[in-house]
């Protein structure tokens, strides 16, 4: 059974992304961190390409880093346990933020374990909130201006984070996503489940 571990900064929306992708109901809250420990969930993922396929997988939700300096070592220990058993690492970043330093610092701190997963995907979450925030509600897609900025942001993610991963990432490894709008859900599921 494929194991996918979700990692990312506190508030990047890991639990929201998991909920949107696998129709779960993990607690989320916009003022407090909810995930305090590692949670594993068995789900049946539905691949919706040519022939719909049901695949049992294990989704591993982790507490977000960057909340405070004091608890960082606890998180690092948790990550050191889940990364060696994971097949896929889904790194969740916030599409509407310019700050990459916390991600870089976290990646540096887990560099001994980061080469275990055979596959790494960066989820660029919250792209509905990317400037100028004029999401096309009728088609449920980013506006033309947002599409342009998403392109720039994908480039930024690759430029700022790629060097901290064990192998080179390309544009195909960064998936723009919105948990709230369920935008790019199928594409993301396919990317996560495809052969690694």
């Amino acid at each position: 059974m494929k194991k996918i571990v979700f990692l990312g900064k506190c508030g990047a929306g890991k639990s929201s992304a998991i909920n949107a992708l696998f129709d779960l109901n993990l607690p989320t809250d916009n003022t407090h961190a909810c995930t305090m420990e590692i949670n594993k969930h068995r789900v049946d993922a539905i691949k919706e390409n040519d022939q719909p396929q049901i695949l049992p997988i294990e989704v591993i939700d982790t507490p977000g880093f960057g909340e405070s300096l004091e608890v960082e070592h606890i998180y690092k220990e948790m990550y050191s346990k889940v990364l060696p058993v994971a097949d896929v690492l889904a790194w969740v970043t916030q599409g509407d933020m310019r700050i990459f330093r916390p991600d870089q610092e976290a990646l540096l701190s887990i560099r001994e374990f980061i080469s275990f997963p055979k596959k790494i995907i960066i989820i660029l979450n919250r792209i509905d909130l990317i400037g100028p925030k004029n999401w096309d509600e009728t088609l449920n897609v980013p506006s033309a201006e947002q599409r342009e900025n998403i392109e720039i942001q994908v480039g930024q993610v690759l430029e700022r984070l790629s060097k901290y991963f064990p192998f080179n990432l390309t544009h195909n490894d960064v998936i723009p996503f919105s948990a709230v709008k369920k935008f790019n859900k199928n594409k993301l599921i396919d990317t996560l489940l495809n052969h690694s």
Binding site: N30, M97, R98, G131
Partner: protein, 278 residues
């Protein structure tokens, strides 16, 4: 304009156009009076309060400056807007000037931060006021704690001299983007936060006091919440900056400081005060 009259009357006084001048000279001494005159002249011409606008990237530093002063600096949704310290002197309505330094935002990239932090450490000690901008719709303050501790406190250790309250006096915390704070939505009809957002803003302020105080003691009064984009409470922010500029802002219309405070010798200040028309 009141200030200009004050300055004019000082010049009159010092240049002997006033009958009180001889009395002053007698009591204070010519040297000290000349020194005070030189100071007033140079302050008037060259030294508006310097305001450093700092914080993480993307919190809206440049938008704040643009909308405070109707300027047209470059802002960006996704890229870092400011790569250097941009400096510009702005005239205030009703008199006075502010010297605004727009700093590059921190936290984008470990390697770039090294360069930017050098700029902070070089330029920050010159500032009379530090406007530290935080965005209301983000609750994690770890990066801000780090910036204050590693960059601000480090660059200002000569100003602080072991007493953090020396720095506290210079800092205004600007809580930007309160229109985007959740839960709740912005009331567009009256350009105000709705009740829910009002509560969230209160909570954010309390949380900021608690978290930042672990690195630098601040009080809730130092936090000015606003929205640059909605032009909400920008005047409150401007007022807080001017109040904070203290004696360096002595000639500003909103906060006129008596010019005799420029005299270093308190006795001179006292005599000039007594003999002025005020």
């Amino acid at each position: 304009m009141k200030n200009n009259r004050l300055i004019e009357s000082l010049f009159d006084l010092l240049q002997g156009k006033s009958s009180k001048n001889s009395v002053l000279k007698e009591i204070v001494g010519e040297d000290k009076l000349n020194e005070l005159q030189r100071k007033v002249t140079s302050e008037k011409d060259t030294k508006p309060p310097k305001v450093a606008v700092i914080g993480k990237a993307g919190v809206g530093k440049s938008t704040t400056i643009n909308n405070l002063f109707n300027a047209q600096n470059v802002t960006s949704h996704v890229l870092v807007g400011t790569k250097n310290v941009h400096r510009k002197v702005f005239d205030l309505e009703g008199g006075g000037k502010l010297d605004i330094l727009d700093f590059p935002g921190l936290g984008v990239d470990l390697e770039e931060d090294i360069i930017y932090e050098e700029m902070y450490i070089r330029e920050l000690p010159e500032a009379d006021v530090i406007l530290y901008v935080i965005q209301a719709n983000e609750r994690i303050l770890r990066e801000d704690q780090r910036i204050i501790e590693d960059v601000v406190l480090r660059s200002l250790h000569n100003v602080i001299k072991g007493d953090k309250s020396n720095l506290q006096k210079k800092i205004v915390i600007g809580l930007n983007k309160v229109d985007e704070i959740g839960p709740g939505t912005w009331d567009r009809s009256i350009n105000q936060p709705n009740d829910e957002q009002g509560e969230s803003i209160e909570k954010r302020c309390d949380d900021i006091v608690e978290k930042l105080t672990s690195v630098l003691p601040i009080s809730k009064k130092q936090i000015v919440y606003y929205s640059a984009e909605q032009r909400f409470r920008l005047l409150d922010l401007l007022n807080a900056i001017i109040q904070c500029s203290g004696s360096s802002g002595w000639k500003l219309a909103t906060n006129p400081k008596p010019w005799w405070e420029l005299a270093e010798d308190p006795r001179v200040a006292e005599i000039v005060r007594k003999n002025s028309n005020r």
